[in-house]
Symmetry: C2
Subunit: 148 residues, 2 copies
């Protein structure tokens, strides 16, 4: 972890707040390259009526479009919650350089579910976790508590 | 397996041929509900410069849009090759009723890679494999042989 990771996770948290404003499960993501944010995304499953419209997928698609490239080896994705199996699969195909997430997700997180699998991550992808984990998890807890 | 599965797999193969025509890895998918095709997709990774633009993802998004629903419990996805981890993740979120695939993919197939994982499939999703597997695999083999 470094200060840069905290800074950028705060930006991902801002995206998560946009999801919250739309009554979506509050998860946000950004893609960073050369210390600059090149793409953003927040969970839009309800808004788009698409159960796969996760923050990471939206941010990745935006990054591919921005760069005109289908691979992101020099980029880092920051996301507030551990990516699910689908999103780890998408990150695998993107060959992204680094994935930084906030809070772990024991129920749906790809690493949590497939801990024994060597095939979930691209071999060149570095993983950093527990960046601002409490803030990231708190947003989720508040959201689900209010819905009950 | 039943005749309907073969019929619909042939329609997925037609989608795979569209991918081949665009110099894409030839994989095609369709989504069927009440014996009718409601969505189609073929691999467009190169065309869209998006490494996640797999046939299944495109067909699922089209199905969500067509139905105005983020879940597909009454639908079946037919795809020529075993879905990858990402696509199985997307199928999980869609709560799709049934997935039928042609040829297995030992290198990238979600079931092949995560055979020991109970969490890859939605508990309500039925899997059928080996439908027109030879035809589906042959398209792939021809494609990769010609590229070498």
């Amino acid at each position: 972890m470094n200060d840069g990771d905290e800074y950028f996770m705060k930006q991902a948290l801002k995206e998560a707040l946009k999801a919250l404003d739309s009554d979506e499960v509050p998860i946000g993501a950004i893609v960073v390259m050369n210390e600059k944010i090149i793409a953003r995304g927040y969970n839009q499953v309800e808004t788009l009526n698409d159960s796969t419209a996760h923050a990471e997928i939206i941010a990745l698609t935006a990054a591919f479009n921005f760069l005109g490239s289908k691979y992101l080896p020099e980029a880092t994705l920051y996301v507030t919650i551990e990516p699910c199996t689908m999103c780890f699969g998408a990150l695998y195909w993107s060959k992204i350089g680094k994935v930084v997430f906030g809070a772990s997700d024991p129920k749906h997180g790809g690493l949590s579910l497939h801990a024994s699998s060597k095939n979930l991550l691209h071999p060149k992808t570095e993983i950093v976790k527990d960046i601002l984990a409490e803030e990231c998890a708190l947003l989720m807890k508040d959201f689900f508590r209010k819905r009950r």
